[in-house]
Assembly symmetry: C2
Homo-oligomer: 428 residues x 2
């Protein structure tokens, strides 16, 4: 028989218990933060009709980076490359029954066929938080407060990250000045989105190809590099500029003070219509955006629905994990098992009965069936990072008492078999 490889598929991860515990830590913080702002969890299948992505997700994503195939019934299927189109489909599908504003979150896995590299894998999980039906910038304010809380709940200090915001409509106003065509606007947006990843010359060369007039390129570069210049160009009374400044002030008043206006933030996806934002690590070694989002008021129209205001963001597990590792914010691994019950002298029935009583009041107990010596059983508990250990044998059965040892501090306490509640208090 041919020997099968134990490698996973390229660019995806296996989660052994210690890896899973990191995932669960990240997911728990995401969940708690979203729920603390009143968001409810939703979910959907990773399988979606391919047409869902053809309208709005951006051409590169759909034609080069999706996992798409025909099923056995000749339907075109795609593994979701992002969650927002699915969310929009679900909202559009029950628009009349749902009570707006909606506050929804999900932590889906999403798939992109890319060359795997640091921070980018072919499958990753992504917290998606979205609010539907709030037109005012209270929606952006809440979304950015939530993103800020997420980072704080992970243990980050405000100085560890910065929130950069922009407004696509501000950029459009600027493009109008240079009379760019719709296609040229898309090209400039794409170039802006990739600006920080390349030397400035690459960006400049792209602009020169689009603007034709070299003076305009210089002027445009100066404008986007300086907020003062940009505000002057558009006028301080410009309602878009005022809206953005109001948002920054409003956030400061609720304690979110690390927000910067940055006109190079545009976001890659086609469906954003207003404010966009990205959260960055302030550590210069890690220049990629941690996560981002924005306002997308038109997405439901692809289902023939009327417009619904929407603001949301997506935060991936891979970049978050890199951030937490860099800043030393990942907790040490401990097993979810509280007590390892070693067994000698074939005392299995007693051990099982005791284990069952403890389980009934919320203690997680593993019983050893190996019949190995005590030393090996202690070693097993230690290897598995289980915090407490007890051994049951003839002596314990006779005395109806057992000693519970804290494997980290080496403290040991003795309990009667009937002191289940007291044991539970020590362990959980």
């Amino acid at each position: 028989m041919k020997k099968i490889s134990t490698e996973s598929y390229k660019g995806v991860r296996d989660f052994y218990p210690e890896d899973m515990s990191v995932q669960n830590f990240i997911f728990k913080k995401m969940r708690e933060t979203a729920e603390s702002f009143g968001y409810s969890e939703y979910s959907a299948s990773i399988l979606e009709p391919t047409e869902l992505y053809q309208a709005k997700s951006g051409e590169e994503l759909v034609s080069e980076q999706t996992y798409s195939f025909k099923d056995r019934g000749d339907r075109d299927v795609t593994l979701r490359p992002e969650m927002t189109p699915t969310l929009a489909r679900m909202v559009a599908g029950k628009k009349r029954e749902l009570s707006f504003p909606l506050r929804w979150y999900s932590i889906p896995n999403i798939f992109r066929y890319e060359q795997p590299q640091r921070g980018r894998l072919r499958e990753h999980w992504q917290l998606n938080v979205d609010i539907f039906g709030v037109e005012s910038n209270e929606a952006e304010k809440e979304m950015l407060s939530l993103a800020h809380s997420l980072m704080k709940n992970f243990g980050a200090k405000e100085s560890d990250f910065v929130i950069k915001i922009n407004d696509r409509r501000i950029m459009n106003a600027l493009y109008e000045k240079y009379k760019l065509t719709e296609e040229e606007v898309v090209q400039v947006s794409k170039a802006l989105d990739k600006k920080s990843k390349n030397p400035i010359e690459v960006f400049k060369a792209t602009l020169e190809g689009i603007f034709k007039i070299n003076k305009h390129v210089e002027e445009f570069l100066e404008t986007i590099e300086s907020n003062q210049k940009l505000i002057k160009t558009l006028g301080e009374d410009n309602p878009l500029v005022k809206n953005l400044m109001d948002l920054i002030d409003g956030l400061a008043s609720v304690g979110v003070t690390n927000v910067l206006f940055d006109s190079t933030i545009v976001r890659g996806l086609d469906y954003y219509t207003g404010i966009v934002f990205e959260i960055f690590d302030t550590d210069p070694k890690n220049k990629r955006a941690l996560f981002g989002g924005g306002r997308y008021d038109d997405l439901l129209s692809i289902f023939g629905n009327e417009k619904v205001s929407a603001v949301g963001f997506g935060a991936g597990d891979v970049t978050i994990k890199d951030f937490l590792e860099t800043h030393g914010l990942l907790p040490a691994y401990t097993s979810t098992t509280n007590l390892y019950l070693g067994v000698i002298d074939d005392a299995f029935p007693t051990a099982q009965t005791l284990a069952d009583s403890l389980r009934a009041i919320g203690v997680n107990v593993a019983v050893d069936y190996t019949g190995k010596n005590v030393g090996d059983q202690i070693k097993k508990a230690t290897n598995d990072h289980i915090p407490f250990l007890a051994i049951i044998g003839k002596k314990e059965i006779d005395s109806k008492k057992l000693k519970i040892k804290n494997l980290a501090t080496r403290e040991e306490l003795e309990f009667g078999f009937d002191e289940i509640e007291k044991i539970a208090k020590m362990l959980v």
Copy 2:
């Protein structure tokens, strides 16, 4: 622009918040039960190299029921149709580093291209619980205790379900009596697995095609229908029969008394090598197995590894949910949001500050930004099944007090803005 459908892909589910809350209830009970027996969570990608399933998963499953395709790099990829091969791959891949026995669980989603029907969908989630490295039937005993606890933790009574067990080796001993070839054994197993789904004549006709001698068919049918007959045929001292009877007695001694020996239980998958079991609803209206599993000691050999004993089971969310619905065991929906904070008189900043203080001590708070009248805001909280409501306006700002209302009992209590801890106690 072409209007896109809001339907999901065929045979999969969208989980709106109320549906998700059912999923989360089921997953929570699964998680708690597995962890209470000392099992640690693992996970992996849904994408696997297709070759992983070609050795052991059963031909029908691989060639007719998988989602398989070529990726953009011409690799053969399959969406996992079950978790056990992935688990075996992971264990084989780190066999030298892992400390045995392993107790692992996971709740993966798995994919089968089938005609959707009650209890069967193209994507479902499945609790997988497995123990590696225990040769004695203590492994089966623990696994069946765990399955039994799972049902009890869902709120089922012992009379609501029955655990049917068999041993593939017992069946093999029986087949030897009739000198069946390996291929004929597979055919009889398949027929047994489907026996309960068809009229008995279908099963009989299949047997007649295999056994040739009609007397043997009658004898075989009688033997599998009666445990006494089967035990007599194999001899009471047969070690396999003794092992099975020991297991049933051992389970009874730890309070698991609804276990029956049933020689028609064989399980569809090719990799089982010993004891197999299935859990059935005792309600005659729901005759399909709820879930099942067994011992598979040879699966690691497909990776060129030496044998490792393994026992496990898989329990799907769809059949469990049907069971819980039938028996009235699903809890009523409540939002994860504890408090809905209605806002009038543009009191947004006060509402946000109060909400943030409550969030900081673990209360989930949604703030209303609509500016609608109080009646509409109360209606929104009620629609969303949020248990508590408070309204903040000019009056509350002036008095620095707010009233919190329990929307179910209509009780109302007044608190000062500074009594955050007292408010939290009422809400969480």
